[in-house]
Every structure is written in C-alpha cells, then in structure tokens.
Symmetry: C2
Subunit: 236 residues, 2 copies
Amino acid sequence: MRYELFYWPEIQGRGEYVRLALEEAGASYVDVARRRGGEDRLMAILGSEREKYPPYAPPFLKAGRLMIAQTANILQYLGPRHGLAPKNEQGRLWVHQLQLTIADFVEEVHQTHHPIASALYYEQQRKEAKGYSREFWKRRPQKYLGYFERVLDRSGGPWLLGRRISYTDLSLFQVVEGIRYAFPKAMRRLERTIPGVVALRDAVAERPRIAAYLASPRRIPFNEYGIFRYYKELDA
Amino acid sequence: MRYELFYWPEIQGRGEYVRLALEEAGASYVDVARRRGGEDRLMAILGSEREKYPPYAPPFLKAGRLMIAQTANILQYLGPRHGLAPKNEQGRLWVHQLQLTIADFVEEVHQTHHPIASALYYEQQRKEAKGYSREFWKRRPQKYLGYFERVLDRSGGPWLLGRRISYTDLSLFQVVEGIRYAFPKAMRRLERTIPGVVALRDAVAERPRIAAYLASPRRIPFNEYGIFRYYKELDA
C-alpha cells in the first residue's frame, strides 16, 4: 500500500513526526502537498462537505480506505504495522502515552514564539514571547526531557521502550533537533543533564534510512515558519 | 474490575473527561486521591523509581495490571470496553482523533488565563491573559466548535458519530459547560451559531447516569483552580 501524507509543504511542523516514521519504516508514501497541485488537494479535503471523516487540520494520512488525522493518532496506526510499536496492549498504550507527552511539550515550545495568538506575527507578540521563553527555560525542558531521561534509565536503553526502537524515539530525536535549532545556547547547557536522551538522538541520526532521509531534499530545513524557530533574543 | 483513577482531588481538570466516561459507563471505580491518603498514593506513583510505566502527570488509570496515562489514551482504552466507542478500526481512529482535537482546544482555553506560565499566578500574567483572551475570542472557539458543528451535520446527529453515543460526546459536553462557566457572555453569543453542539450538550446532561453524577458530590464544582476559570475581565 502506498500511503498519502497530507501536510503543509514548507515546514517540518507536526508532519515531520509522521515523515520520520514512514522513512524509518521504508514505507511507500507520497508527501502529497509537495507535489504539483498537491496543496490544492489538501485544501479541498479540509474544505470538503462530503468527506466522511473530516480532519480538523493537517497532518492527515490516507491509508487505503482509511482517513486518519492527528499526529499521534497517525503514529499509533503506523507503529504496529511497521515494527515501530509493540503489538501488546500495555505496550501500545505506553508508547502512545509517551507520544502524547511529546505532543504536549511541542505545543509548549510553539508558544515560546507565539504565546498570544498563532494568527498574529511573532513581531506582534515579541515582548510576551520573551516573557514566556524566560519562564519556559526555568523549568519546562528540564521537566519534560528529564522525564524522558528517567524513562530511558528505567527501560535500560538504548530506546525508550528498551531494546526495540519505536516511533516515539524518532519523535524525541526530532524534538532534540528542533530545540537545538531554536535555542542553541540554552540547550547546550541542558544537554549535560540528559546524556541518555542525547545518546538516543545520536542513535536515531545513525539509522541508515534516517541518515539517508536527513541528507535528502525530502527533509525540509528548519526555518522561521515552523514550530521550532530561532530568534536570538529568545535564547538566553 | 474496579478501576482506580488518579487525579488531583480539588479540580475537574483533565480528569473530568475520564470521570464522565466512567460514570456514563456505570463502571466501578475509585477516585483515589479524593479518599483519605489517596493523594499520597498519587504522589508516590509520580515519584516512584520502580514504576514500570511512569506517568508524566495525572490523570492516570490503573485497570487491573495496566497503567494508562494521558486523558485521550485512557478514553481510547475505556471506550470500546464500555460501549462508548466503535470497535472497528476507522471508528476507533476517528473518535480518538476527535478527542485529540478537543484536547488541543482545551489547552488553548487554559492559556486564556495562563498564557505566560502555568507556574505563575494569574495575577502575574493578567495583562497578557487579557490580550490572549481577546485574540482567542476573535476566532478559536468559532473554529473549534464550528468544526464539531460540521461533524454533527455530517453524522446526522444526535451524537458526533451518529446514532451511538461515544466518549467524545461526553467530552464535548464538558467543554461547553466549561466555556459557559468561564466566558458566559461571549459563549451566549457564540451558541446561536452552533445549535447542534448545544443540543448535544443538552442530550448528554439528560443521560440518567450523567444527570445523577452531576447532582452528586462526586462532581467537583467549577472553581478558580481548574482549567475553566471565570475572570470577569476576560469575558468580553
């Protein structure tokens, strides 16, 4: 089966967690909106009155006759099919729980540059973004990434679930990459306290399919339109 | 089986979506932290070094030998077991997707009073809360609740999935109740445009088990510690 992924073509954003899973799986997929006419198809589905399972927002995945939206939901569908999640009940619930915790963290990262409204420009909420980012770096990355460090301690590593990689490892890699990009100074300090998470990041980057993906034009570079943005003044 | 729900004892919060599902199901459960010594048990699990599946935060549910955290994850576990979700794959993915969209909306509502940091008091971010709430009411409830109105249109009602109630209907009820409490003036205006959502809210409130729950001391009243808070100055 050839999957169709629908996501905004110019950013990594929330679609990237799905792209990483599809790439690691070696799955056959089309990143629809990056093809000619693809963004129109994406918009047509979002605005459709006939779509039986209308997504609220991208990303969404067409998998044969199935239509699946919400990043974590797409991943929990793909995971057990491609060896990226356990098949037993506790294992599936646990990896999904970790993924939802990553999603919560990513949402907080997004607010570092958009604390007042997504619909406004960064420049319109710069002062508040500084205040948010200052508070954020007092405790949030420490708490979230410290949690994943503890999970790794308990699993014995190298992956969050132990000896087998799962989609949530790929997502944690993406979060580390994103924060390194957006907050290079603050992240350098924090990384000293989370060696397991850093080692996991390195191990993901070395996976042959992930390495090939990251070096390919399929990987959209970080930029100032996505979730992880670099504004020097926010990186204390 | 008797479920054990672990959540903060003084607020509805994110635990309320689970409580509503357990109540509608007529399931046997203990709201652990509301019992003597229960909050200590909750804290012990959160801080435990031995817990194999450590939750990042409440709510979490013990279901026999299973440990499940993250509200939407708990609901997707409970749903098919108690007639509150379809059992087929597309149905399960769809109802979970709706639930995750509700979770996104609830997170945005929380920021109306805490746009800068959860760890600070409201009074320390009052000005920013006013700015956030003003922007929020220009478009966000309209977009989210308008989306659920369209889903109801397409399902034919009375429930989001059509003729059978699901856990996400109970959650949508809770969101309407919460916004009515927090933003009575703004919500009154908006409700004219979402008659289907309002009818769904009424239908949930009339379910015998839900009505009994709402009238019981098990239902914690809305207050100024939870996610939905009433600050007159934010309700434009």
